[in-house]
Symmetry: C2
Subunit: 160 residues, 2 copies
């Protein structure tokens, strides 16, 4: 890859964020930037342990910041550059945000090798509920379903 | 199930939160509470559309609030009651938070029936990268890997 490629520049910013997160003890070594029309509109770095927030992954922080910057809850037309392949939480968040392309550097396997559970969680999510290590039990579906029906009948609902 | 079961009481709180989220136009019809030692320690309801935050699902909000309440980044010993089966983003967040049991009411299929993409995203996450609708491209792994190696050599790293 050409050193002057914009992809290289954006990914180097994400990698630099991952390095800073590590060196400042903010959290794990992960960074991300979100790009729209050739500009970085938001960035994030992992701060799980310093902020007591298990959801404070680089991609989640960057998505939230990008949406605040744009005043929208969708990020159509955006790409994300993540210093590591997104974990399933972040990958699903990227889908919810309607980001259109993911660039990544390290893989989930690289993350597993340094002690992070990304790979384990991908395996868990692909299993049927009954085969997962984390038990799930259904209660009160009928009562909850009535709220879903109310949503369906709501004329001014805002889908996302 | 006995109407006096604590599970019923906790799930009714989650369902009531889902109803409020819908009726106040905060977001989609989803609510969640987190319970530790028989007490509700945090709650959340969907506010994606009202706060321009695609990650503001009930479970994510509840997890963040529970961790703030406890001053930790793990929720061992906790259960979550969600008015709908968690989407893959929230399910992975529950794993990261080390929550030990999930109670849910509506299913991902119920959510799909009223227009939410939970089921679609579960399918996407189980596919190999190359077969997903959202394209992914790897760049600069070597540079990113050097940060992972620095993490592995860091004596005061805080794993999570």
């Amino acid at each position: 890859m050409n050193g002057k490629s914009p992809h290289v520049s954006f990914m180097r910013q994400a990698i630099q964020l991952s390095r800073e997160s590590l060196r400042t003890n903010a959290g794990g070594p992960f960074g991300a930037v979100i790009v729209k029309n050739g500009d970085v509109i938001a960035h994030g770095s992992n701060c799980v342990t310093s902020t007591n927030d298990p959801t404070a992954h680089a991609e989640i922080i960057a998505i939230r910041a990008a949406c605040q910057a744009l005043g929208t809850f969708h990020l159509q037309g955006c790409a994300i550059y993540a210093s590591c392949e997104p974990c399933p939480m972040c990958l699903a968040a990227i889908y919810w945000a309607r980001i259109e392309k993911i660039y990544y550097a390290n893989t989930r396997r690289d993350a597993s090798h340094i002690g992070f559970d990304d790979g384990v969680f991908y395996e868990e999510l692909t299993k049927p509920r009954s085969q997962r290590t984390l038990p799930m039990e259904q209660v009160l579906r009928d009562e909850a379903l009535s709220v879903f029906q109310e949503w369906q009948n709501k004329e001014d609902r805002v889908p996302y």
